[in-house]
């Protein structure tokens, strides 16, 4: 389209009502005559609305925006949408607009952490944060593989029924690099269109020898969960997206402080509780120690959970540390075949 005829600056001035009459006329005539220009104008409107919501307009622009632009119901609707989209893309902002979440130094810390690390909108990650988490994920995987008792052993079976797997099954973690990590809350069970990698490619890279038939267990890494004492009671519950074909879920918990070598967790859902002993520190994220707790995905159906964490000192005494609240959601496939509906959510309650 002929954007050169009407530059973006003129269009913005026009929308804010401060374009001189002699410049306004050709623009209005074009608005009525050129269908593409109407779309272009609406797109510029969207940008203005975003800038208003982000507080990026100059004082004069903001005044014009509020007194001139923001008069129709449709435009106010656009502002509401922009606010919702921003809260969605930058979840840490939720607390900033909620009166229930007064600012405290602690929250300032978790906001900063969440704004960089929250994984609900993976494409928003800064590359540095992604690299940092990759390192943490790899460390967690390595430590857990090295220190985990034999499959079916006491670690999980104490509190959880054995998951559906073959005795020699080895978890095959979704490749932590590139688009797959970013596609579905850290781990994607399906080949990503972004990098074109397929499960077979992963095998060829040597992590799972292609000549050894092993059932593929997709391990989903949770976002870094922040404890209730740090987030505050008014904070939104942290979501974890679990794809339908996930085999295991690794919950990653940011510790408020590192006072113990070993930690035990109790997963609480409704009236059920499941003990998960022996979690250890597996890495550090943003200056906070990170521990990982892994459990079968079928123990985490759609619903809300609390994870109570306690630490064990050298004498074996257990002390309560903190509680982490989260919500498990299912996840759409990255590419859904046309015409197929997403599997409906099945709430527990």
């Amino acid at each position: 389209m002929e954007q050169n005829i009407t530059g973006e600056d003129s269009t913005r001035h026009y929308l804010l009502g401060d374009l001189p009459a002699e410049e306004r006329r050709p623009l209005e005539e074009r608005l009525l005559a050129d269908g593409d220009f109407l779309k272009y104008l609406s797109a510029v409107e969207d940008d203005l609305v975003d800038e208003y919501v982000r507080g990026e307009l100059s004082e004069g622009e903001r005044e014009r925006f509020e007194s001139f632009f923001l008069i129709t119901a449709e435009r106010r609707r656009k502002v509401k949408f922009a606010q919702a989209l921003r809260r969605y893309n930058e979840p840490a902002l939720t607390s900033a607009t909620s009166p229930a979440m007064a600012s405290t130094p602690k929250r300032a810390w978790w906001r900063a952490l969440l704004s960089g690390l929250r994984i609900r909108r993976p494409v928003m990650w800064l590359p540095a944060a992604a690299a940092c988490l990759l390192l943490a994920a790899l460390s967690a995987y390595w430590v857990m593989v090295r220190h985990r008792p034999p499959r079916g052993g006491p670690e999980l079976s104490q509190g959880l029924p054995a998951p559906n797997r073959q005795p020699d099954a080895t978890p095959q973690e979704t490749p932590p690099a590139g688009g797959q990590l970013a596609e579905v809350n850290d781990a994607v069970p399906v080949p990503s269109a972004r990098d074109g990698r397929k499960p077979a490619d992963t095998a060829r890279e040597g992590r799972v020898p292609p000549d050894v038939p092993r059932p593929a267990t997709v391990v989903v890494l949770s976002p870094v969960l922040i404890s209730g004492s740090v987030r505050g009671e008014g904070g939104a519950m942290q979501p974890i997206v679990v794809p339908p074909n996930a085999g295991r879920v690794r919950l990653r918990l940011a510790l408020p402080a590192r006072d113990y070598e070993t930690y035990d967790a109790v997963l609480i859902s409704g009236e059920r509780s499941t003990r998960i002993p022996g979690a250890r520190v597996v890495g550090k994220v943003e200056g906070r120690d990170l521990i990982a707790v892994e459990l079968p995905a079928d123990k985490l159906p759609y619903g809300e959970y609390q994870l109570r964490l306690s630490g064990r000192n050298q004498r074996g005494e257990s002390h309560y540390v903190d509680t982490y609240s989260f919500r498990v959601k299912t996840k759409y496939a990255a590419t859904r075949p046309p015409g197929r509906r997403r599997r409906p959510f099945m709430p527990l309650r």
Binding site: L38, L41, V123, A236
Partner: protein
């Protein structure tokens, strides 16, 4: 009988005359009619008219009423004629109304319940997009100021499309998600 939001009402005969003036093909004429109405609404919005749709309908009404007089001697694109009538109607509306009451601030705090519902709805709405469109939708609107401009430029290069084509594509997706979100929220929150 076609009832518009303006003060007058079009009967079938005058409405047919209007459609025939816009295009001899009735289906295309209908599309043109809707398109002209959309543009007129935007025109009035940009002139700070609260009831932009009412004035758009009034413009169409007045053009239609004049049509029997002008149709014989008028040649070319009808759109400029609409523009002239719309400008006059806007001037008249300025005389009728003096002050516009602005809505209360939109930057008020939001309840957590609504935030949760929004997130769930946006999950669903974005889930209805194809994977490339979902990525485009999320990537296009990230960043601020210069960073945003540079990011969009590189995104357009990556997709091998002109920056304005990217902008319009993002706008279409955004409109789609916006409608989906509000429909979903009204189902969830009533």
């Amino acid at each position: 009988m076609r009832v518009l939001k303006g003060r007058q009402v079009l009967n079938q005969q005058t409405f047919d005359l209007l459609l025939n003036w816009l295009d001899h093909d009735r289906e295309r004429a209908g599309e043109k009619y809707e398109e002209i109405r959309r543009r007129l609404i935007k025109f009035f919005e940009c002139r700070r008219v609260v009831e932009a749709d009412e004035l758009a309908d009034e413009t169409i009404n007045r053009v239609t009423k004049k049509l029997p007089e002008i149709i014989g001697g008028y040649s070319g694109n009808p759109v400029p004629y609409f523009y002239g009538v719309a400008s006059n109607i806007h001037l008249e509306s300025l005389k009728r109304k003096s002050n516009v009451t602005l809505p209360p601030t939109l930057l008020a705090p939001v309840r957590d319940e609504r935030v949760e519902a929004e997130a769930e709805c946006l999950d669903d709405c974005l889930g209805q997009l194809t994977s490339p469109n979902r990525e485009l939708m999320l990537e296009y609107y990230q960043g601020a100021k210069q960073e945003k401009i540079a990011h969009r430029k590189s995104l357009a290069q990556r997709l091998d499309i002109a920056p304005n084509a990217l902008r319009i594509r993002a706008y279409r997706l955004r409109s789609q998600i916006q409608e989906c979100l509000f429909a979903c929220l009204s189902r969830k929150l009533g």
